[in-house]
């Protein structure tokens, strides 16, 4: 890869930006700058004068970057969005992953394709990570709810811990619900009977 290519990452998520930066550095791009502050975005970008700008699609400042396409006195080098009209699959993949790329005119398309592919895989990796984190969080919360409901049942029906759990599990199976949902109903009901 060409270490001379200067890349700017515009992303308000510091974790995702770091993951992407790591990937780019591993691939041999040494000049990577992250921007997480959106005020005066264009001025910051002009000061860095990058060859490639990567921005996440959840960022409203994408519209600010579109201004760079306009012929303007401030722009040193013309910048275009990386869209290869013949390659809709890669556009689709990048939109799906949630990233968009802008390049300085004249940068070789193949090089850009490498950078974009790397972005897509890193963004997707981040989404998977986020998904796992969300699932872990939910599991942890479910556990807490189930434990509370278990306590309520043990006290109210004078059951052992095992039996209280079995009761909820059987009810959940019968009603085609998750145990956590049944547990939540137990807690709600108990609060109403207070």
């Amino acid at each position: 890869m060409d270490p001379g290519i200067k890349i700017v990452i515009v992303d308000e998520s510091p974790v995702r930006a770091a993951i992407l930066e790591d990937g780019l550095r591993e691939a041999g791009f040494t000049q990577v700058v992250r921007i997480s502050e959106m005020a005066h975005l264009l001025a910051r970008i002009y000061a860095i004068d990058p060859d490639v700008i990567l921005i996440d699609l959840a960022n409203p400042s994408r519209d600010v970057l579109e201004q760079m396409f306009q012929v303007s006195r401030i722009v040193k080098r013309p910048i275009a969005m990386f869209v290869d009209q013949s390659d809709t699959a890669s556009i689709q993949a990048s939109v799906d992953a949630g990233v968009s790329a802008y390049i300085v005119d004249g940068l070789k398309k193949e090089r850009m394709k490498n950078i974009l592919d790397l972005c897509i895989s890193r963004f997707n990796a981040f989404s998977r990570l986020q998904g796992e984190l969300d699932r872990t969080k939910t599991a942890l919360e479910d556990r807490k709810i189930i434990d509370r409901a278990k306590g309520i049942l043990m006290k109210a029906k004078n059951l052992s811990e095992e039996d209280a759990y079995a009761l909820m599990r059987n009810t959940a199976m019968k009603e085609n619900k998750k145990i956590a949902e049944v547990a939540q109903s137990v807690i709600t009901a108990a609060e109403m009977f207070k």
Binding site: L57, R62, D63, E66, Q70, Q85, Q92
Partner: protein, 390 residues
Amino acid sequence: MSTSNTRLRIGFIPLADATALLIAVDKGFAAAEGLDIDLVREVSWSNVRDKLNIGLFDAAHLIAPVAIASSLGLGHVKVPIVAPFGLGVNGNAITVSPGLYAAIVAAADGNIIDPMVSARALARVVANRKAKGEEPLTFGMTFPFSTHNYHLRFWMAAGGVDPDEDVRLVVLPPPYMVESLANRHVDGFCVGAPWNSVAVDLGIGFILHFVSEILSRAVEKVLGVRGRWAEENPDVLVRLVRAHHRAAEFVEDPANLDEVAALLAAPNRIGATAEVIRRTLVGRMKVAPDGTTRVSERYLLIGRNGAARPDPAQAAWLYAQMVRWGQAPLSDEFLATAKAVFRPDLYDAAVGPAAPLPSSEPADGIGAFTGPAFDPNDIGAHLAVWKIRR
């Protein structure tokens, strides 16, 4: 819902002119047409455009110039878009900081409610700043191909301010406008509802003009679909337009105002207070932090006065602005393509023959506060009138 329902994904930006689309879904007008619409709230016009272009959206709440730029291949990939329904006419306003407001009032030669008076006053303020070696004024707008960009330019250029030389125009996402005005990154902006009202309510902005004072009939947002999609799904398109038409009629019935405002206020819809949305829909706007209000029946037209029927003359006017400011070359082919984006025929096919426009509407379809009547067939002659252009 029956299984024969057509599923559609439609993108929108949380602004008051998405009303017809949002109400078509929330009040069941779309469902009544057998349409199961998945609304996707977006954060940027670039996203809306790209997702519509590559087919992730079937249709979109689209800022009108983006539909034209996309069809002409300006600034981006060329994807023909057609607009069978107008989501709003007018609705923008120009808001300035208290400092700039005071400076304009002080420099004004008459009542600044007259856009020519305010534009000439702005020219004096700009000249004074230049003489003192101060930084040029900065104005925010929403997108390079936006009505807001063109409205600001049309107004200030009429007073002798060159929008590229004398001031700075910067793109700002609407949710950042108010903050940028508060921390003085910009001195003013042109944007749609609810953001002007938010600035006034916070005491950091004065609404200088409703855009309806600058152009009496300015197309704002359209329902945009890919030209190819329209050809391949004529029946779905008819149902989609009809659902919007019914929603727009519902919105314009004063008896439904409270319900509409409440629905739009939801956090997954526009997410502003119902009261601010109400103000916008009835055109009774608080224009100054002290509570001064200004009323205009033309503030935002959704279903009334023929606003929903796309008018190719409006598309021609937007294209003329692109030419005037150096975004597009002047050509008969481009003009014809731009006009063909707006499709009154598709609108009529869905809702029936249109009634003649009421006498309140301008004869040239635009009603600019200055300059000759707009001629959609001769952009070159029309532009020759303006001294400031690229």
